[in-house]
């Protein structure tokens, strides 16, 4: 039961710098993905096995009408048609997902801030249907919403600015960017985004998902190669598929795998014809939301320069959440924005709005203005949303005359460090980089997914749990998103409840707990305190 930690600089930062392909990192890069304990893995597989057997049994009972069937059925008139769904496609949904369905899609009726109000719902038929009791569960600590800088608020300068714009402009746009939907607000926002990112020019879109799926096809096509990380988001995968390029996947955050693929691609060219590739595009994300890991950007940029590839960086979770000025991964590593060809991100997470952007050189943005699917066919961003982004971005940059932005960035970094340290001390297995505000806590067993969500809700904490197919089948987890709006008391409450539930459900799997400082023997220098 050996523990394998990747690149944990627990001994010294020099050791890390030497090991990273000769590329100097300006800060310690500490990531850990503790291996699944053997016993836990075996029990998890057994758990899934038992659930599958019961699934078959229940399907059998439903077929023979011994058990009441709640599943919606096809119309009588269309019984002869080819069935719309294959039975085995929905096996997982019917028999596993339905049992713990109450952990997801929980309706809320307040601002998704650090505390929220949930609509109480009950199920009398084991999660097949839900009823709203009419009551509201108040002040649930929110550890699930992507509210990194706390801009999800209904009062304050951003909300007031958005309210003004709603009065003046209304809510809809009813036209595309290329036709009559290009408002002055969009132009203002694009200039601000370009300034924030430090690039020449930027373009905004109405939906973050669509930004990826509609612009990657405009940039690459047949005869191009896309090298995409194993754990890239669905929107990136969809965009890559729609583009028609060849896609090759490299191991998650593994620079040797990426370099090998690059060398092979350039040396051997396209498969079978061996013609040279037209372009090679490396697609990575800033923070991977299911793992909590940060991309090794200095190494990726070094590789990209050496092999003349282009880099597409999706900063959906990292923009605003990393870096001393909130500039994302580039700010965090202290790199030059001109090194990244295409900087993409979304406004949903740190800016409390909706939509996405792409930033880069002027030629790139001009090309996208003419060729992006979104510019020609999709409605542009709604004006109050654009105003919310303008107001929050100015606040982060400090241009609104206050230090609120700087305060929040500092608070987020502090909260992240504190939360991660305490979780590790308590004995949970957490994945990801020490500085990432996304914190996955491993649960592994399917029953614990449902139990964890429910127990935490009973104690007034709202968490997000994820299982298959978003994660590998035995690696189910609970994912916490720390926010700058969380106060120390809220985090302490959450941590004590977590410890309680962790003991109850026995999810404190970590086999190597770091002792809190006061219990350490004075000569023990093998563990460096994570926050200096």
């Amino acid at each position: 039961m050996t523990v394998w930690l990747t690149d944990v600089s627990v001994f010294s930062t020099e050791a890390l710098q030497a090991s990273c392909n000769g590329v100097a990192y300006n800060r310690p890069f500490i990531e850990s993905f503790e291996e699944t304990p053997m016993l836990v893995a075996v029990l998890t597989y057994m758990g899934y096995g038992i659930l599958t057997i019961f699934g078959y049994l229940r399907d059998f009972l439903r077929d023979w009408k011994i058990e009441k069937c709640h599943i919606a059925r096809e119309r009588e008139e269309q019984k002869e048609f080819v069935p719309l769904y294959q039975d085995f496609e929905n096996f997982y949904t019917r028999n596993l997902y339905m049992r713990i369905r109450d952990s997801w899609n929980r309706p809320i009726c307040s601002v998704p801030g650090p505390k929220m109000d949930l609509v109480e719902r009950v199920s009398h038929d084991y999660n097949w249907t839900f009823e709203h009791t009419g009551k509201v569960v108040k002040d649930v600590i929110n550890l699930g919403s992507y509210n990194y800088l706390g801009f999800a608020e209904n009062s304050g300068p951003c909300a007031e600015a958005a309210a003004e714009v709603t009065e003046k402009y209304g809510v809809g746009v009813a036209s595309t960017r290329q036709e009559m939907g290009n408002l002055d607000k969009h132009e203002e926002l694009e200039q601000l985004v370009a300034r924030f990112l430090g690039v020449e020019s930027a373009m905004v879109f109405g939906m973050g998902f669509a930004t990826n799926s509609m612009n990657i096809p405009a940039l690459t096509g047949k005869g191009c190669l896309i090298l995409s990380d194993e754990l890239n988001h669905t929107s990136l995968v969809l965009g890559a598929r729609l583009s028609g390029s060849t896609i090759r996947v490299f191991k998650h955050n593994n620079m040797q795998s990426l370099e090998k693929l690059l060398r092979d691609a350039i040396v051997h060219g396209q498969p079978r014809t061996h013609r040279p590739w037209k372009k090679i595009l490396i697609v990575v994300e800033g923070i991977y939301s299911m793992e909590g890991s940060i991309v090794r950007l200095p190494e990726v940029i070094a590789l990209k320069k050496r092999y003349k590839a282009y880099l597409y960086l999706d900063e959906a979770h990292s923009i605003g959440a990393l870096g001393p000025r909130g500039g994302g991964v580039l700010d965090y590593f202290g790199l030059d924005p001109r090194d990244v060809d295409i900087m993409m991100g979304t406004f949903t997470k740190s800016f409390g709005a909706a939509g996405g952007y792409i930033g880069g050189r002027k030629e790139l943005i001009d090309y996208l203005r003419t060729q992006s699917h979104s510019a020609a066919y999709a409605t542009s961003m709604s004006p109050p949303i654009a105003q919310q982004i303008i107001a929050s971005m100015k606040c982060i940059m400090g241009e609104d005359g206050t230090t609120i932005g700087r305060e929040r960035l500092r608070q987020l970094a502090e909260n992240t460090a504190y939360f991660r340290r305490r979780l590790r001390e308590d004995g949970f297995i957490i994945y990801g980089n020490n500085d990432s505000p996304v914190i996955p806590v491993m649960l592994y067993m399917p029953a614990k997914i449902g139990a964890f969500g429910r127990e935490m809700l009973k104690r007034n904490i709202g968490v997000v749990v994820v299982g298959f197919p978003a994660t590998p089948i035995i690696e189910s987890r609970a994912r916490f998103c720390v926010s700058a709006a969380h106060t120390r008391e809220m985090l302490d409450t959450a941590l004590s409840v977590l410890s309680e539930v962790g003991d109850l459900l026995q999810v404190k799997y970590s086999q190597h707990r770091t002792q809190p400082p006061m219990y350490r023997a004075f000569h023990d220098t093998s563990y460096e305190d994570a926050d200096n």
Partner: protein
Amino acid sequence: MASGQQWVLVEMVQAFYEAPAYHLILEGILILWIIRLLFSKTYKLQERSDLTEKEKEELIEEWQPEPLVPPVSKDHPSLNYDIVTGPPSHKIIVNGKECINFASFNFLGLLDNERVKKKALASLKKYGVGTCGPRGFYGTFDVHLELEDRLAKFMRTEEAIIYSYGFATIASAIPAYSKRGDIVFVDEAACFSIQKGLQASRSFIKYFKHNDMDDLERLLKEQELEDQKNPRKARVTRRFIVVEGLYINTGDVCPLPDLVNLKYKYKVRIFLEESMSFGVLGEHGRGVTEHFGVNIDDIDLISANMENAVASVGGFCCGRSFVIDHQRLSGQGYCFSASLPPMLAAAAIEALNIMEEDPEIFTILREKCRHVHKALQGIPGLKVVGEAFTPALHLQLEKSSGSRDTDGKTLRSIVQYCLERQIALTLARYLEKEERFLPPPTIRVVVTVEQTEEEIEKAAGLIREAALTVLK
């Protein structure tokens, strides 16, 4: 059974003792060889390259990629956008000039409706702006559930599902049902979002000529013959027809009753895209099913965006729970994307309220459409493309010069002429390299309930003038 096996075993052991030594040695070597092959590393053919390290380095040095993007000329027609200052309402300020809006899809004039704005403001004060999460992770607000409920009731279906972006609605719905190996019959004039949905689904796509039911029947008959050759495969191949209620590219309506007949005759499911016809056609604005009096349960899925008549942002799909519920786990634009901001959902609910309270508005809109259609007839050099009751018409050149660029420039000068004299029009925009059946360049004329008779007459007169001036 057991005794038979035992007997075979005894025989085997006997044979072993009686075999000659060389036989046994040969067998032993073969077994060892098999074990070695099983455990040796497989070699990939691609890596069997005869290049040395030095040659590889040279190849890497020499390789030059294409530039990331090709250069765009400064006067590319889609590069310089018209800038709208202020709200895109009936009186719109384009490039600094106040004009009457004949270009935004604001059919029911709800973009600057006071009630809608008030509801959106109230929602903003309660929920803030963004939802900070997808539907599965605390991104489901009670407003979303209310909107889905209201839409289902309005359209008289069992269930509805909302998306946060109009384009993504049908583009996520189609791949949720139609997978590799399934067959989809699509009209040639289908809009771009349908084409992207089809591309993402990896199914077999068969195009039939626009609104040509005979062509569709021919394709269906061909498919039937194919099925008879391979009935086992046919039993698991799903078939779909995807059509639009009112086509955005040609302005005409699909022959829905004929389609429903074909549906039951050949056992294909119908997906109907109603972005342009929702809130326009039908006595109560329920779309093309109400227009033709077709039972809504006969259509498997109706998809529409809320960015035209409803004047909000986003889209929805409605139909029976059997069909719609599937998208809650397999619609990519639903599961992996943040949900619709609550203020936009509240605006949509208020718009639905207005639509339900005052069904007269649809009759008025259709009257205006007829008026505009008539007023634009007979302009020398331009012909009107679209039916009399469609709110989004196209004006196409009667005689094309042969080059798309030149046609585009001509139409742009007509639009410019009108913009300078305070009528806002726009060219219909397409991505020339991406469309499957590229429509010819046209001017888009949009009718809204807020346009008065004088404004319509003025617009028609100006277009006539412009056509005479430019097309001399």
